[in-house]
Amino acid sequence: MNAQIEKTAAAADEAGKSIPMNMIQSINSGLDVMLGRDPNCLIFGEDVGYFGGVFRATEGLQKKHGLNRCFDAPINECGIIGSAIGMAAYGLRPIVEIQFADYIYPGYDQIVSEAARIRYRSAGDFTVPMTIRTPYGGGIFGGQTHSQSPEALFTHIAGMKTVIPSNPYDAKGLLIAAIESDDPVVIFEPKRLYNGPFDGYPDKPVTPWQKVEGNLVPEGYYTVPLGKARIAREGADCTILAYGTMVHVAIASAEAVGVDAEVVDLRSLAPLDIETIEASVKKTGRCVIVHEATRTSGFGAELSALVQEHCFYHLEAPIERVTGWDTPYPHAFEWEYFPGPKRVGAALKRVMED
């Protein structure tokens, strides 16, 4: 018991003072903390060094930690990811930024064929403690090459971990846990949430994270474990499974239609916290799954199958999925494509009627 208290106190010490941060600041802080703690950590990617990153996530890090620890790479995602795998196999902990998730495909072969498989192939002799950070998702008028949500392409790879935060605290804690993970991790950062939460109403002005109640992020070291979901809103009538931007849309949608929904923020898609999902759906008896990615073979399909397998006899209505349409992300129809509160609310009403 005493040992436990001591451990908690030591963790609080390491975490230090908590202050309001937006998601860019908390990610920057997580990177800064890890560069300071672990000489094996290094950061590289397009525009991340001198320029500080197009979303400013690495601002100041090159100045503070030096050219060897945070540096620019040419525009060659295959080379960036591939060389990071080599570094990682030799014991470094590279953290690479792929400027937009839409640019990751040139490096996809390296992720699938090398990063995710080296441990298995070498019977554990070689591991790839590499972290890929990449902004994903729509809501910023990026069109087809700057809005995608490709998470299902990664959850489908055995050996790869896939993480998606929904707030500044989790973004930093999951990032540090990912860096410390001995397996390769891809973190999809919801770029629409960098500056403030977004509940799916595009005409409402953004509330900056600094003004969001309770948004406090420790300045020091702490982790949010991979594979643990979070109850973002407690409720009794229906479970909404969501991650990233959609967590906020889900909460707003439930409130708009007056359904007492329990919103589960998955945080980590692989590994997945099936216990939390199962407990919630068994409690509510209903389940709506929400993601921005295209519908067919999206992660929602996996979630739906799992809920059915684990909770079949507790379900009082068919499972609903609210997702992006099966089309490229269009330039002109941002809000028709984006699964906003109208569509989520309609799904909630449908499951409540059954």
């Binding site: 910023i140 087809q144 090459t145 002109a332 028709e336």
Partner: protein
């Protein structure tokens, strides 16, 4: 070439478009063909050619300025990369293009589309996401096409278009149509692996393609020196046996002359050619660029001393070919074209949401 793949089925859409009559575009007639670099014995092009270059460069400049304004007014959303400063390249190269030749480039594409003769209204309406836009509003600034104008996009993924350009060239050789693929990319894109896969195939199969590297010295916030081991990008083809040349991309005549030589080389079956155009972009990388990676003085210096439009004016003065009246008329004409395009793009209707699912597959 040892082996030839099976003959592909002709692309129905492209074939249809190629045989269809091009509608009279509202844009000024495309730059005069074949006259490129042709001199009247004194090494200077004729006055008609000079005025034509002037008209096209000015159209691009004014169009882009207006696009920037519409962006500022919130009428254009998302990403928008302006071509201001680089006009001489698209315009100079256009004047060596022959009917049937193709152009393909990245996301900094507005200037190329205007040079190719696309209707400025259609381009501007795509920027504002309207149904009358070249991709029916679904592509946006970075993703436009016009097969009739020989314009194959408009590609948002850096370097993604380069192997496609080699593929267009392969199709030219396969059909024996004597056309050339003009494949553009930036100094930053020059570091993508697929560029070198394309180089190798292009030389191996002697494809009629001119690779045009628009070296504006920056890839977003990263200068060439910080990203490239070999900064003389025209040398990047040496190990494949592809000839390359550095060109003053701020001098439209120099561009046209080098372009004519390279196109002739490719057209005659000798294989690919690389042109490295030294140029500069005046504006930010896109509309949200904090511009912390270069000084204001650096930008001002280029504007003052190397501006492609001023450069052409000076050249015309030096050769006594200035025609104030004609140029004034061009100024007024261009002003009107751009104003009309902006008005059209502002008022044209948005696409119907039922359009969301069209063109995902061959049939709905």
């Amino acid at each position: 070439m040892a082996r030839t793949p099976a003959k592909p089925a002709a692309n129905a859409t492209a074939a249809k478009a190629a045989s269809a009559k091009k509608p009279a575009a509202k844009a000024p007639a495309t730059a005069k063909k074949a006259a490129a670099g042709k001199s009247e014995g004194n090494g200077w092009p004729d006055k008609g050619q000079l005025l034509d270059w002037y008209r096209h460069m000015l159209l691009i400049r004014r169009f882009e300025e207006r696009a920037g304004q519409l962006y500022g007014m919130g009428l254009i959303g998302g990403f928008c990369h302006l071509y201001i400063g680089q006009e001489a390249i698209a315009v100079g190269m256009q004047s060596v293009k022959k009917t049937g030749d193709q152009v393909i480039t990245g996301y900094r594409d507005h200037g190329h589309m205007l040079a190719a003769g696309m209707d400025p209204k259609e381009v501007m309406a795509e920027l504002t996401g309207r149904a009358a836009g070249s991709a029916h509003g679904k592509g946006g600034s970075m993703h436009m096409f016009d097969v009739q104008a020989g314009f194959y996009g408009g590609h948002g993924i850096v370097g993604g278009q380069v192997p496609l350009g080699a593929g267009l060239a392969f199709a030219n050789r396969y059909r024996d149509n004597k056309a050339v693929s003009f494949t553009y990319f930036g100094d930053g894109a020059a570091n993508q692996g697929q560029v070198y896969e394309a180089f190798n195939m292009a030389e191996l199969w002697k494809l009629p393609v001119v690779f045009i590297i628009e070296n504006n010295q920056y890839a977003m916030g990263t200068s060439v020196e910080r990203a490239s081991a070999e900064t003389h990008l025209h040398k990047r083809g040496i190990s494949f046996g592809i000839p390359g040349e550095e060109v003053d991309g701020m001098d439209v005549q120099a561009v046209a002359e080098a372009g004519a030589k390279a196109a002739e080389y490719a057209r005659s079956g000798k294989g690919p050619y690389i042109l490295e155009m030294k140029t500069y972009r005046y504006r930010g990388h896109s509309m949200s660029d904090p511009a912390k990676y270069r000084t204001r003085e650096e930008v001002d210096e280029v504007r003052k001393t190397r501006d492609p439009i001023d450069h052409l004016r000076e050249k015309m003065e030096a050769m006594g070919a200035t025609d104030e009246e004609a140029m004034k008329a061009i100024d007024a004409e261009v002003k009107k074209i751009v104003a009309d395009a902006a008005e059209f793009a502002r008022t044209a209707p948005e696409p119907d949401p039922s359009e969301l699912y069209t063109d995902v597959y061959a049939e709905a």
